[in-house]
């Protein structure tokens, strides 16, 4: 890996004469003891795409929320279109043409798309006229930008990708000239992300200004014009994208060199540890989400499950980990039938040597209101080592947590801190440490690096490889194709509850996998690649 380029062109502020969309001067924001933004200066030229990168908790979202009027800066000045402004609340921001797509969507789950779009932007006391107008307007936006969404569908029925389009539509519907996107691709498939970028380019061509926060340096390189790096509440550098490199950005972010590629030895697969036959699983509403899936994972290998979100991955993870009963089919662990029978099967499976890193750490893998040490034993609290009989040995649990903290470099190193107060990356490490330190035979991992900064990604990837090399069977589900390709020894593609193909990560190319993920079967894929050599 190259050293940091020393001769990069510094462009902390756009060149004179260039018209500025926004300018932030000396912005400060504290949350109690946390100094989330320190003396931030930032200028973004009109008609450009400006990227912001930084570790978890660096203060990116906070800064953008201040610009959007959701938070108030403790001090500092905001200039929009050359004029100093005060932004009391989001409606001020909207009036100034600033729109924001938040990291955590600000949608009302049981509203329709239309209702969400007009919320707060209604024209009259009665809804009807606004709804009609929004329907026309959304049609136009769909035509102009290819932002198609079923406007009468309820949000909770939409995929995350679609939900995100709704967020963008909300901003555009309100006439945003400056669009802030906070980690928009964290939950998108590569295809969805590509589509988003096409939309963003179109918007830029129309003269709109875009600020993009992301952890994916590939995206920064691909689409931004300028990029700022944040660390511990400060902007450490603002650069022209053309004059930098992912390696340089990574180093600026983390403060040390980061290996952006996973290094691993050849796998040495052993006996089949996890064996799934004809698994059929339904979701809570009774819809079949897995329609006869068979697969196996051997000791010492990583099986990657690729696929667009919503094709049965969640149900697969839940069924394998004992959280969801199967309608039919069997799951064998070490040859033993462990298909879930009741809502305590997850505990049983854990004791038989299966560990599960869930897709969604906040919703499932952690109790954010618990202290760190309490989360360190979630799922394992009834082991004898954490107390005899009824009682819970708090000391033993704390000791365990302390071990995790040291081994996984969890920060802050405090077992008695509420988990909610850890950054996303560190929360993920708490989960990983808990599941990996049990020394399981089989590890099931869902979206291990979602929303996690690159320093943490590197660490997490290395841990997973280490597990494999220690002879564990690992099943990895991720919507990040890069991640799947980098980590897996074998890849299967899940589409609409079926396994539609298997690929070798060393030989499979992105296009081939992309087609499989879109539901084009392997044979069809072969044909289409013949057709377009």
């Amino acid at each position: 890996m190259d050293a940091v380029q020393s001769d990069h062109t510094r462009r902390p502020v756009p060149a004179a004469g260039e018209s500025l969309a926004i300018e932030l001067r000396k912005i400060n924001k504290r949350f109690g003891p946390v100094h989330a933004n320190k003396d931030i200066d930032l200028a973004v030229a009109r008609g450009t795409i400006h990227g912001i990168v930084g570790e978890n908790g660096a203060g990116k979202s906070t800064l953008m929320s201040i610009l959007y009027g959701f938070y108030h800066a403790d001090s500092g000045e905001i200039v929009v279109g050359g004029a100093p402004v005060t932004i009391h609340n989001s409606s001020d921001a909207l009036r100034l043409g600033i729109g924001m797509v938040h990291q955590h969507f600000m949608l009302v789950d049981n509203f329709t798309v239309l209702e969400n779009v007009i919320l707060g932007a209604e024209d009259s006391a009665l809804l009807k006229p606004s709804v009609d107008k929004a329907r026309r307007e959304l049609q136009r936006l769909a035509d102009d930008y290819g932002l198609n969404v079923p406007v009468d569908a309820v949000i909770e029925d939409l995929s995350v990708g679609q939900q995100q389009r709704v967020e963008i539509l909300k901003a555009l519907y309100r006439g945003a000239d400056i669009l802030i996107l906070d980690e928009p691709t964290g939950v998108l498939t590569p295809a969805e992300a590509d589509h988003l970028f096409r939309v963003l380019r179109t918007l830029r061509e129309e003269g709109k200004t875009i600020i993009l926060i992301t952890h994916k340096l590939r995206e920064i390189m691909a689409i931004t014009d300028t990029v700022s790096v944040m660390r511990q509440g400060q902007i450490v550098e603002t650069l022209a994208t053309a004059s930098t490199s992912p390696e340089q950005l990574a180093e600026l972010m983390v403060g040390r060199r980061v290996l952006l590629r996973v290094h691993k030895e050849e796998a040495k697969p052993g006996a089949v540890l996890l064996d799934v036959k004809d698994l059929v699983v339904a979701d809570d509403l009774g819809t079949e989400r897995l329609k006869g899936v068979s697969l196996h994972v051997r000791a010492g290998e990583i099986l990657g499950i690729a696929g667009v979100a919503g094709n049965g991955q969640s149900e697969l993870l839940e069924a394998l980990s004992g959280m969801r009963a199967a309608k039919s089919g069997t799951i064998r662990l070490n040859g033993e039938d462990v298909t879930a029978v009741n809502d305590e099967s997850a505990a049983l499976l854990r004791h038989k040597g299966l560990a599960h890193v869930p897709e969604d750490r906040i919703r499932m893998g952690l109790v954010t209101n618990f202290y760190e040490w309490e989360n360190a034993i979630l799922g394992y609290h009834d082991l004898p080592k954490y107390g005899k009989g009824l009682s819970l040995d708090v000391k033993a649990a704390r000791a365990e947590a302390q071990r995790h903290i040291e081994k996984f470099d969890i920060r802050p190193a405090n077992t008695d801190l509420k988990t909610a107060n850890f950054s996303g990356g560190n929360q993920q490490k708490i989960v990983l440490a808990r599941e990996m330190e049990r020394d399981p035979d089989v590890l099931i991992v869902g979206q291990p690096t979602r929303g996690v900064d690159i320093g943490a990604i590197e660490f997490i990837h290395n841990q997973i490889i280490k597990m494999r090399d220690a002879g564990k069977a690992i099943l990895l589900v991720s919507v990040e194709l890069d991640e799947i390709r980098a980590l897996s020894d074998r890849i299967v593609v899940l589409f609409d509850g079926h396994i539609v193909g298997e690929a070798d990560p060393r030989t499979a190319d992105e296009g081939e996998l992309g087609l499989l993920m879109a539901g084009v079967s392997q044979k069809g894929a072969a044909q289409s690649s013949e057709a377009n050599p």
């Binding site: 921001a93 924001m100 938040h102 509203f111 919320l119 009665l126 909300k170």
Partner: protein, 320 residues
């Protein structure tokens, strides 16, 4: 037929305060504020209405006073749960205690009747009103009993209660206010980031709650009974709350739940002392428990999981 009509007439009367209180609860809970203080608001506004009606001799002023009392209660509730981000349940419990203490305390101080207010009569009470042509149609078969017997002949508050149901549905689903109301109870952040004030909207919802429950309270003391007496709300606020959950926070089902409850209550009055074919005489208490037992059975059998507005009960906090 006549029996049925008369049971239904009782049903309507018994349901009226429940409907008003239940819809009242609907507005605040849709806005994300749990209102276990409905009971206290009913009691407080029953008191306010009776006091002012007794003093002025004007029931409309009484009604305004009843609403005024519940507005004050809602204001306290809002202050506690919106501004100070307090626990909404404690606030509600406190209001219930406050109502039960203050009404009797003040009533005793003012009227010297141990908290009861003087009996109301004449212009100080709401009376049943006859709808147009009720008398003329009374003799007509089917229509007569239904129109003249069942629909006509209630107080204005009953008609307001029933009209409030479609109005609420309209407000909820057809108006800008309703859209925002539903949004603030589900995801207040969505509203905040769309540039609207969560607090202000919640206060508006609480004000509507106060108006409705205030009418419910006034109904108790100036329409159904003709004076205030201590603890006269006797659990109706809790029943309304239960009905609201039963109805999954929706206006028409709320009407249904309150009517069902009123009907079971009316039926229970009829069935007391009745001897059933096989079982023989049934204890009065068994009949009296009937509405509650049936509610539980219905709930368990048919209604299924009630999912509250997601943000309800939680204060809106921007910064951790």
């Amino acid at each position: 037929m006549e029996d049925l009509i008369s049971i239904l007439v009782t049903t309507i009367r018994v349901s009226t305060p429940l409907i008003l209180a239940c819809l009242a609860g609907l507005y605040s809970e849709r806005a994300g504020i749990v209102d276990i203080g409905l009971e206290g608001k009913l009691l407080g506004s029953a008191f306010g209405a009776a006091v002012v009606a007794a003093v002025t001799g004007n029931v409309w002023l009484g009604l305004l006073a009843g609403i005024g009392v519940s507005l004050v209660f809602s204001g306290i509730h809002g202050l506690a749960s919106i501004n100070f981000r307090g626990n909404q349940i404690i606030s509600g419990v406190a209001l219930n205690f406050l109502a039960s203490g203050l009404t009797v305390f003040l009533g005793a101080a003012w009227f010297g009747r141990g908290g009861n207010t003087p009996p109301l009569s004449g212009g100080a009470r709401f009376y049943a009103i006859q709808l147009p042509f009720a008398r003329e149609l009374a003799g007509v078969p089917v229509i007569g009993p239904i129109y003249s017997g069942l629909i006509s002949g209630h107080t204005i508050l009953t008609y307001i209660a029933f009209l409030a149901v479609p109005l609420t549905a309209f407000v909820l689903w057809r108006t800008r206010f309703g859209l925002r109301l539903r949004a603030v109870g589900e995801n207040p952040k969505a509203l905040d980031t769309a540039g609207m004030s969560v607090s202000w909207l919640r206060y508006k919802a609480l004000a509507i709650t106060a108006v409705l429950v205030g009418m419910g309270g006034a109904y108790l003391s100036t329409a159904q009974a003709a004076s205030f007496s201590r603890e006269m709300s006797s659990g109706r606020g809790y029943i309304a709350l239960a009905a609201l959950i039963f109805a999954k926070w929706k206006p028409y089902p709320a009407l249904g739940a309150c009517l069902l409850f009123g009907f079971l209550e009316a039926l229970q009055y009829r069935l007391q002392g009745v001897s059933l074919p096989v079982i023989g005489p049934v204890p009065t208490q068994a009949m009296q428990a009937l509405p509650y037992v049936l509610t539980i059975l219905l709930l368990a059998g048919f209604v299924g999981r009630a999912i509250a507005p997601k943000a309800s009960g939680q204060p809106y906090v921007k910064e951790r």
